[in-house]
């Protein structure tokens, strides 16, 4: 495995996002798999930013409204995401409380912050750490779907717990908003193109050498 000092873009080549084939940037479709060929994801930053803002707005009702309603002997109890974590801590199941807290609170929040930072940092050439920022992007992309845990928990409990008037669990409206947050941030991560920040680095080197 040898690294050439050059990037595909500098050689006039575009890498197909579906099959990795290198083709001249003048082509419109990949000669191997037929997918539309783009040098970089089109409108990457605008689309990522728009989706991140959508996700941030959805995150508010996801935390304010109840995600699950437990009805025991006719008495309804509404629980929010954070309320569920507190309840688990009170029950003494700290590991599970930690799983829910990490998956439902820390992952979406840190993913939103990380993605906002990445979009903001693309045009900031003086910021170093391109390698770290690429790793950060890959981590944000990887952890995204793990936030669905809470939605699945609601789906399972709702399906399982319906014992007539004794004990019934029904889903709350926050399940919708929360699933929305997860989906929208996943699409946002797919829209972001980490090569954009490396492009700035390459341009910078060219201009300093010239």
């Amino acid at each position: 495995m040898n690294a050439n000092a050059s990037t595909a873009a500098a050689e006039g080549l575009a890498s197909c996002h579906v099959c990795c084939k290198l083709a001249p940037t003048t082509e419109h479709n990949c000669p191997r798999c037929g997918a539309a060929l783009h040098l970089r994801s089109s409108n990457s930053l605008q689309r990522t930013l728009a989706l991140l803002i959508t996700a941030s707005i959805l995150y508010i009702p996801a935390n304010l409204y109840p995600i699950m309603i437990t009805e025991a002997l006719g008495v309804a109890e509404f629980s929010t995401i954070l309320g569920g974590v507190v309840l688990l801590v009170k029950l003494g199941s700290i590991p599970v409380a930690a799983v829910i807290f990490i998956a439902s609170v820390m992952v979406p929040l840190s993913k939103l912050v990380a993605m906002f930072y990445l979009v903001w940092s693309v045009d900031r050439r003086h910021l170093g750490g391109h390698r770290q920022r690429t790793k950060m992007y890959l981590a944000a992309e990887f952890i995204g779907k793990w936030s669905m845990v809470d939605v699945f928990v609601v789906a399972i409990l709702v399906a399982l717990v319906h014992l007539g008037g004794l004990l019934v669990i029904s889903p709350g409206i926050a399940a919708y908003s929360f699933a929305g947050v997860v989906l929208v941030t996943m699409v946002a991560a797919e829209c972001f193109d980490p090569r954009l920040m490396w492009d700035r680095l390459d341009n910078n080197n060219d201009s300093s050498e010239a």
Binding site: A3, S6, T7, C33, K145, L167
Partner: protein
Amino acid sequence: MSELIACHGCDLLVDVGDLENGSRASCPRCGHFLTRFQRDAMSRVLAYAIAAIILLALACSFSFLSFSSSGLESIMTLRAAPGSLWRYGMPELAIMVAAFIIYIPALLLLLLVSISIPLLFGLRAPWLRFATRSVFTLQNWAMVEVFIIGVIVSLVKIAAMATVVLGISFWAYAAFSVCFTLALVTLDRYQCWEMIEALETAQ
């Protein structure tokens, strides 16, 4: 032989032509994983995919969890689970959950079988490109392993209220999640397309 590949993380051109069996290549500049070469990858993909299909069929056939308190009992099956969300007026959420845990994984497995058989036996199949593109588009949207964690969390949440029993389907689904993940991980994007190209250009 020299084969160039552009890193998807930073666009650096890297030569991955002379990988040994079982070795992997990463980008020297940003560290992004590039490709992994395994001589028997396709037979592994086919084996894992068939095992996963059988296990998923089992997981859909028996009781997944059962829950009982004061003489009342309710049983949850995997296929009926998303239906409850529908009955509470959340059809979109029900469709999403069903797609993420059953239907997208099932579709992915069928696609994997339809790719690995022609590649393994050197048969030209008209659906090869379409099926391979679909696999790489859909693979982010299967949430099998996330669902397993969801089941475990649910168990702890309601264990205090009543008796919960794990059914045969749960164990089948857990084994399915292992085979499913292995099948997808074994299918390497770059190597798979190289094989398709070699097959289609061969006389």
